[in-house]
Amino acid sequence: MTGGASMSAQPVPDLQLLRLTKRYGGVLAVDDVSLDVAPGEFVTLLGPSGCGKTTLLKSIAGFLQPSEGQVVLHQTVINDVLPHLRQIGIVFQNYALFPHMTVAQNIGFGLRMRGRARSEIDRVAAEMLELVKLPGLGGRYPHQLSGGQQQRVALARVLAVKPVLLLLDEPFGALDKKLRIEMQIEVKQLVGELRMTTIFVTHDQEEAMLMSDRIAVMRSGRIVQFDTPQAIYDRPHDLFVADFIGASNLLEARVLDTVGAAARVAAGGAELQVAVAAGPLPVSAGETSDDGQAVLMIRPENLALGATAEMDGWKGRVTFALHAGPTMEYEVAVGGGARLRVSRPRAGGGGERTFAIGDDVGVSVVDPSSCRLFRGSRG
């Protein structure tokens, strides 16, 4: 599954979006978006509904004409190329299988439209069914298949025409959670083996983290951050990304002073040192003292609990304790009305102590350099 991790160093991208803009009347659906996708790369467009990710996908597929900007596929501007000539395959959320055709006819449709011989179509259909692990189901109709099977057929139908680019439009949305994870892994493996350049659209950040080589986080028609899942998780570019990706504690904070790469901040009734040098947005003491506003982001797994006397950070009381399988999830009320979410592994080896609701605890930051400081306020 080494598909193509971070290939941004590759010289020639498969797909380029150059300053793409799409307006509906006066409404900007996509606002000046540029994006490079390297050969074999798995790129995800991630964002809440209405962020423009689907509009972007439709512009790439050719179902929508961008108002401005260019779609460049293999170094050719394809703005004026009709969708059926683009060689771009799409898997839709509801699969869009042709209900009046058998599975084999669905898979063979693309080749039939290309005027291939009957024998070739049959052979490829059988091959594709083998590839998506549905051998022998060619004679069924889509309504006779389960959701997961329909999904595989939709994928087989697209792969049969050997597309130069694969678009996945929220393809897992209709599946239940267990099947969804299975299909995510399977699809990721499959496109990895085929070295298929893939653009994946989703609003589910876990799904995006799991599958992508790079994620473009979108908001209000713009790409806010475009980076590897790890970088986006560890170094979110702004408050929106910090809030949208993963769970985080976002605390109102005040910067007391900055010394070189470190800042001393007050948040939730405690003072702590955090590193700001690596962050995208070092906040200087002078800058924030105007309104005193900053937001401190700490991931729940970057907090540790202990007896009040042992810990050097916040003092508080456990208001919530939940067994979540591999972890314990806590909520701790600390000073200034703030509540901290803390996530601790439950692995037996470490023998980490568990706490119950009502326990008085101390909370400290495990790795201060992993905290991030953002300008502005939470509102």
Partner: protein
């Protein structure tokens, strides 16, 4: 202490009777409606097999002599063939126009779509007598001679709404992403329509065509205005026979009309039914 109705046996029995009364009423009323709708038709079919020289119900003796007599009448044979031809031609034209018209009415985004929708339904709403007269005036204003062609076109105008209605209903249910999928797989708009859209609209089109065919086949009012003096359709023939020589052959023609209508409905139902099985 709160009142709990399920502890009272009498109340339970009364509730059960009340519910049963509801179902008895529903089934009773629909049975009455069914008899009311079907009985006149059954009477005419019954009367057509009488062996008497006059219309009798219940029939006295069983005989197909009136059907034989019908077949021997050239005017009836001609009228039947003409009606069949007109209905087939009008239906064919109506299907082409209706299917095409359904697209902008369902998929289109333009001002006045609703108005247009209502307008296209107007032949269903307007009294057909009025339409017949209007069409006659229109045709003579254009200086056209009344002919089979004019008759067919006037039928098209009154039956095309059926095709639009049923096709639009099918189209509204069709997932537009099917078309996107077909296009991304290499089908141009024509082939997308032919291979993906049309097969999925077939149930709606067949249903609409059946209604259209029947409406044309047994149309009297519009034909009376536009058929011209020498051109008789089957309903016109039937009408003048009722006027001039009322004998059981009138009942026999009616029976033939009923049977043809029934045949069309059954054929359409089979066709649509089969398509349904494939779809669901």
């Amino acid at each position: 202490m709160p009142e709990r109705s399920f502890e009272d046996h009498g109340a339970r029995v009364r509730a059960r009777l009340g519910d049963a009364g509801f179902w008895i009423a529903i089934w009773g009323i629909s049975a009455i409606a069914l008899v009311y709708l079907l009985l006149p038709t059954l009477i005419i079919v019954g009367a057509s097999v009488t062996s008497t020289d006059f219309i009798a119900f219940p029939p006295e003796g069983l005989s197909l002599r009136w059907f034989t007599k019908l077949w021997s009448l050239e005017s009836v044979r001609l009228a039947a063939a003409r009606s069949l031809g007109v209905a087939l031609a009008a239906t064919a034209i109506a299907v082409v126009l209706g299917v095409a018209a359904a697209f902008p009415l369902v998929r289109g985004r333009f001002a006045g779509r609703e108005v247009l929708n209502t307008l296209l339904m107007s032949p269903l709403v307007l009294p057909s007598l009025v339409y017949g007269l209007a069409a006659l005036i229109f045709v003579s204003a254009l200086g056209l001679q009344l002919s089979i062609g004019v008759l067919v076109l006037s039928h098209v105008a009154i039956i095309v709404p059926y095709v639009i209605r049923t096709t639009a209903a099918s189209l509204a249910l069709l997932d537009p992403q099917l078309e996107d999928a077909a296009r991304s797989l290499g089908a141009n708009v024509w082939r997308t329509f032919l291979h993906v859209v049309l097969p999925n609209l077939l149930p709606g089109i067949v249903t609409g065509a059946a209604f259209a065919f029947i409406s044309s086949f047994d149309n009297l009012t519009v034909s009376l205005f536009l058929a011209g003096p020498r051109v008789e359709t089957l309903p016109i023939r039937l009408f003048s026979m009722i006027e001039f020589d009322l004998d059981p052959s009138v009942a026999a023609i009616s029976t033939v009309l009923v049977l043809i209508t029934l045949a069309v409905v059954i054929v359409a139902h089979r066709a649509v039914g089969l398509t349904r099985i494939v779809r669901l």
